[in-house]
Symmetry: C2
Subunit: 345 residues, 2 copies
């Protein structure tokens, strides 16, 4: 069952040709484009064997061969070599990410943009799942007589704020007291933990007015926590798929696009994937059985984990794409180190 050296060589050649041209490759054209040292007839015999082993398929009798998912899997696991990015590619990545270094979500969106520009495929970037992030402090600030701002800051630097319209009046002192009170209660606890816990009616030295204020603020507090935990998903380059022969029929294109309109489901699926560069090919995916999906993880502050990804036809340049993603995630992780080297707590 082991493939011979020559079979591997032929398989690689077929994959190369097919990835390039998106058309079934025949024995004769293969010998033309590659120096394999044997005649088409020999290629045919080998192709026939490879097909029997499940590495190639046949759209119809008189067509050339097409690599199967199994072939791509073999290629990804054994055959492909890491590509080195050119220094201009590296520079483009570095420049684009550096421009927005201190704005987390913007940086991520740029990463997704880069990914789709370089690979000419659809790409996405997700913020980390923040349920393990811990609360650093909570602050309430006045805007006008009926409007306040609620701000929650996590230890990872994750910040969310909401503008609240109150139905009860408030005082500056009331806000400060409640801010401190909430910070004391929740500091150091994970978002997940706080969200799941009962709302604590800490009556300690509460005044009547304060407890009213708390009552108005708590529902929004919980909602904001949830939003803070939510993974944000940025998608880029969806248009690219229109240029890919695989999706040149309107129905295929629609199917492809619909995967992404269900953002929540898509996000959930992506979260389940492992760390590092993960490649899933065709049938290996739960839905999108005619796509390949490559994800890679980056780290924030060495702790929280976010993902970026690329989606395209199974016929894609796995070597290039994985190499770019590796470089990109390393770069992101480096950017997102909060305090260089030191543990900040």
């Amino acid at each position: 069952m082991e493939l011979s050296e020559r079979q591997l060589q032929i398989l690689q050649a077929i994959i190369d040709d097919y990835v390039e041209n998106a058309e079934p490759v025949g024995s004769r054209s293969l010998t033309k484009h590659h120096d394999l040292g044997v005649s088409p007839a020999t290629i045919r015999n080998e192709m026939s064997d490879l097909e029997e082993m499940g590495y190639l398929t046949h759209p119809h009798t008189s067509a050339g061969r097409v690599p199967s998912d199994k072939a791509y899997r073999l290629y990804v696991n054994e055959l492909m070599k890491k590509k080195n990015l050119t220094s201009s590619e590296k520079k483009a990545i570095n420049d684009r990410l550096a421009a927005s270094r201190d704005e987390f979500d913007t940086t991520l969106r740029h990463a997704a943009e880069l990914l789709s520009e370089i690979t000419h495929l659809a790409s996405f970037a997700m913020t980390p799942a923040a349920n393990e992030d811990t609360i650093s402090f909570i602050r309430l600030m006045p805007v006008d007589e009926r409007t306040i701002i609620l701000m929650i800051v996590g230890d990872s630097g994750n910040v969310t704020n909401t503008t609240l319209r109150l139905t009860v009046p408030y005082t500056q002192e009331g806000l400060e007291l409640l801010s401190k009170n909430m910070t004391v209660n929740y500091k150091g606890r994970t978002l997940d933990d706080v969200l799941k816990s009962e709302i604590i009616e800490d009556v300690g030295d509460d005044l009547e007015a304060l407890s009213q204020l708390r009552g108005s603020v708590m529902p929004s507090f919980m909602r904001t926590l949830e939003d803070m935990m939510n993974v944000h998903l940025y998608m880029e380059g969806m248009m690219n798929i229109f240029n890919i022969p695989e999706y040149s029929s309107i129905d295929r294109a629609r199917d492809f696009m619909e995967l992404f309109s269900r953002k929540d489901e898509f996000t959930r699926q992506m979260l389940e994937r492992g760390d590092g560069v993960v490649v899933t090919i065709g049938e290996e995916n739960d839905n999108m059985k005619d796509c390949s999906l490559i994800t890679a993880t980056y780290h924030v502050d060495g702790k929280l984990v976010g993902k970026i990804g690329v989606i395209g036809p199974t016929r894609m340049k796995y070597d290039e794409v994985t190499s770019i993603m590796e470089y990109l995630t390393n770069n992101l992780s480096e950017s997102f180190k909060l305090t260089d080297g030191k543990d900040k707590r």
Copy 2:
């Protein structure tokens, strides 16, 4: 050149049929579906006149008639009647918007979602252009020894924050001093004004350390102001266009989608449009000459102006869409009143 009553009736019938079926309508089928009281031959004569006047076109000799942009314009200006939304439609809109009343951007996104769900077209919502918004206060808050949060609050309730990584150390007092200092300098000024002004090196009672801190903060401050001014664009229902016969070819679909991938350009164009419900049909648009575009404006705090919009083929149900948008924008404006009735300054 004035159209007769019968011609208007026929034109309306043709528009109705064509909007419904997306197929050129012939004289015979028109008499079948509408009670016009005349024979197909008469219809043909009238159609011929209408075509001469530019209200109808002919894909080819032996096909039925298709309304021209001019016909839709006439329809929108003269013929169409306002549709009343059913109470269940109204309820759906009210419920969906009420659920997120205090989170501005979320509410807007929901509005766009609603719009595309009801109309089955592509839709968008834009936050107001905030260059006229004035600064209420600025605050700097510590996170850890190298990280602070910069928060800018506008008088309209517009809040933006950024996490900054400092290369210089800071003190709590330094942050507070700088916050106050910046607030005093910028309070009441419009974002536009501040962005355009030179960075003021207010050396008054500045310490050396403070001026260093200011130096690190100012570039991010400016960048954050810019972000705050930026119009956010939420697009929904792009997938809907796959179900529209006009865009059933991959090329047309691609052209359509490409309009939206250029978000900045698109936003700029939309900002130029007038207030209230604005309908532009086919050739009346600068690009997207085969689409119609309907926009409507909502108000925040009676002052800032944002837009929502719908894009589809010129063949669309103008009466329904405009009615829904009118209802929706009224609802949004109502939601976004900060302090009911009273002027808050």
